[in-house]
Amino acid sequence: MKYIQEFNDPDLARRLLEDIHATATRPWAMMEVCGGQTHSIIRHGIDQLLPDTVELIHGPGCPVCVTPLEVIDKALEIASRPGVVFCSFGDMLRVPGTDRDLFRVRGEGGDVRVVYSPLDALDIARRNPDRQVVFFGIGFETTAPANAMTVHQARRQGLRNFSLLVSHVRVPPAIEAIMDAPECRVQAFLAAGHVCSVMGTTEYPSLAERYRVPIVVTGFEPLDILEGVRRVVRQLERGEHRVENAYPRAVRAEGNPGALRMIEEVFEVSDRAWRGIGTIPRSGWRLAEAYRDFDAEYRFDVTGVRTRESALCRSGEVLQGLIKPNECEAFGTTCTPRTPLGATMVSSEGACAAYYLYRRLAAAPAPAAPEEASIVG
C-alpha cells in the first residue's frame, strides 16, 4: 500500500537506527503517548533495535485503557436494556466493568454490535426506527471529529432514536499530569501524529517550554517512529526542548480547522477521570448543552451505578510511565490478557498486553533465525 510500504523499508530503518546509535551518548527516557505507537513499536520489535540507552516509556494514549470504570459500567447497563442496540468499536468489548464486560452482556442477550465507524451506528439507527441505538463514543482528539459529526448529523436528520455515550479525552492535560507527577522520569515526548492531524501543534510549544521537554510529533509506521526517536535524541543530546513535526505528510501546524470547528460546536471541555490514573482537570470533552438530547447518559437513567476497582494492579503507574508492565507483581502471573487485572492488559493496545504478547520471549532463550533461503527455490 502506497505511503505505508515505503515507511516500512528495512534499509531506511537501518540508516535511522545507525544515526540514533551514533547520536545517543547517555541514557534517555522518552514517552510515546499513543497506544497505536506502542503497538507498532512492539509489533516491529523496534524497542529491541534501539540503543540500550534509549528507553521508550509506553504512555496512556489508549482510549480503551483509560475509559473510566464508571462509564464502562454505564455502557454495560445501557447495553443490557431491552430495545437498545449498543454499538461500539471492537476493542471496547473486552474491557471489564465492575463485574462483566460487553461480551458478557451480549452473551446474556444484549444487542451489542461492533462497527467500524460511528456513521455505521447512525445507519443502524436509520434502519431501525423502533430501537434505541447508542454509540459508545470514546477516543482521543483523533476520534472526536468523527463522533461530533455523527451527533451533528443525527440532530440535523432528526434521528430521535440515536444517542452517544461519550468518554472523550485530550492529550495535553495528560502530558501535564504526567510531568507533574512527583516520580516522573519522562524526558521527552513522541506526540501522537493523528491527534495532531486534527488539533495541529499549537498546544505544544508552551508545554515544551514549561517542562523543558522536547516534543516531536511522530507517525505510526516504523520509519516514522524511528524518525521521531532520532529527533528526540538529537534534541536531548543538545539540551534543546523544541516542538518538531516528524510527520509532516499528515500533520499541519493549524490542524484541521473544519474538524476543530465541529468539535467546538458539539463538545465542551470537562474534567475527566482516566482509568487507573485519576481525574485530570479539563482533560475531556462532553456533549455541549445544545446536544444534551443526544447524550445517552441523560436519555437513559444510569445514575447510581456502583463501581469497584481491584487494588492489586498497578496499571495506573504503568500508564504514567512510572513502572514497566513487567515490574508489576501481577504481570504474567495473576494478570494476563485472559484474566486481566487492569485495563492496560485488556486492550491489545494496552502497555501490559503489548508487553505480554510480544515480550514474553524475554524469559525464553533467543530464537534462531529461520533459514528459508536454502529451501525456497
Binding site: 516500512n8 482510549p63 470514546i138 463501581t307 485472559r338 514474553r360 532463550p365 529461520p370 533459514e371
Partner: protein, 355 residues
Amino acid sequence: MAEATAPLDPAAWSCPAPLRDQQVVVMGHGGGGTLSAELMREVFAPAYGNAVLAGLGDSAALSLGSARLAFSTDSYVVRPLFFPGGGIGDLAVNGTVNDLAMSGARPAHLSCAFILEEGVPLATVRRVAQSIGAAAAAAGVTVVTGDTKVVEAGHGDGVYLNTSGIGLIPEGVDIRPQRATPGDVVIVSGPIGMHGIAIMSVRDGLEFGSEVVSDTAPLGGLVEAMLAVTADLHVLRDPTRGGLAASLNEIATASGTGVALTDSAVPVPEAVAAACGFLGLDPLYVANEGRLVAFVPREHADAVLEAMRAHPHGAHAAVIGECVADHPGMVVARTGLGGTRVVDLPLGEQLPRIC
C-alpha cells in the same frame, strides 16, 4: 462521580476489578483461541476425555480391524450464508474434508445435518444443498447420511450445518501435532487471511468493497501429492479460526517445540494486508478455509514444496519458518526490521481496533 475531586496521587491510583471466570459462554469460546482451549480442557475433557480425544488433532485417528480410520466432525454457523468465494455449504464440506486430510487420510464419506430456522426460504435451503453436492463432488467424497431439525423462528440464523466425515489413513502415515521436531521446515500452502477478510467485507457494520474471495477449497488432493513425496510428513494443520497464529501455537504447545517465523516470508495478499490495516487486525490471526501449514523434515522440504507448487491448491506455497528447540511452546516471528515478537495464541475472536 465519586473520584471527581481526588487529587492525582500515585499511591492511591486504583485499578479495575478482575474479570476472571466467565460463567456464561461468550463468542470467544468458539473463536479457536485460548477460550476454546479452556472449554475443551476444563469442561469436555473431564466429562468424556480419553486417549484419542487428548490427541487434539483436527480429526481422530482410529484403528478398526486392520484399517486406520480418520474421523472428524465440525459445525458451521457462518453469517452471512453466502459470501464472496463460497457459502456455508462449501465450508461444511471442505472444512470436514480438510480436517480429515490433516491426518493424512484420504477423505471418503460425509454425513450432513441441517438445523433450519422456521421461515427460512426453501430456495435458500436448496441453494445450500446444491453447493454441498457440488463441493462434495469436487472433493471426491460422498454424503452418505444426514439429518434435519427445525428450530423456532428467532432461534437460529437461517441455516446451521454439521458435517462429520471418515477417511482411510494410508499405511506408514503418522501425522499429528506432537510430531513437530526441531529442524522441521514450516510451509504454508498459499496466501493467508482471505476467508476471514472476505467474510468481514460483507458483515453488517464493517462492510467494505474488496476483490478478496474466500479461499475455501478441499485439500485432500494436495495432501495426497505431498504424501507421494514422502510418507514422513510430521504435522499438517488447516489454519481456520484463529488463523495461522492459532495453528502454530497449538503445534508448538503439543510438541513442546518452538516455532520461528519470518514475517516477511508469510504470503499475505495486498488487499488482505490493506483490510487488516484499517481494521487493526493481524493477518496471522485471520481465518483460512483452504490453506494448510505443514511441518516437514528438512531433507524432504524442497521436494514437498515443489510437489505443493505443482498442485492447484498449493501453487503459491512458501516456506515461512522452522521448528526450533528454543522457546518451547512459543511462536516467535522475526520482524521485517530484524526485531522479534511473540505471536501469541489469540484470546478469542479478533476485534477491529480503534487505535
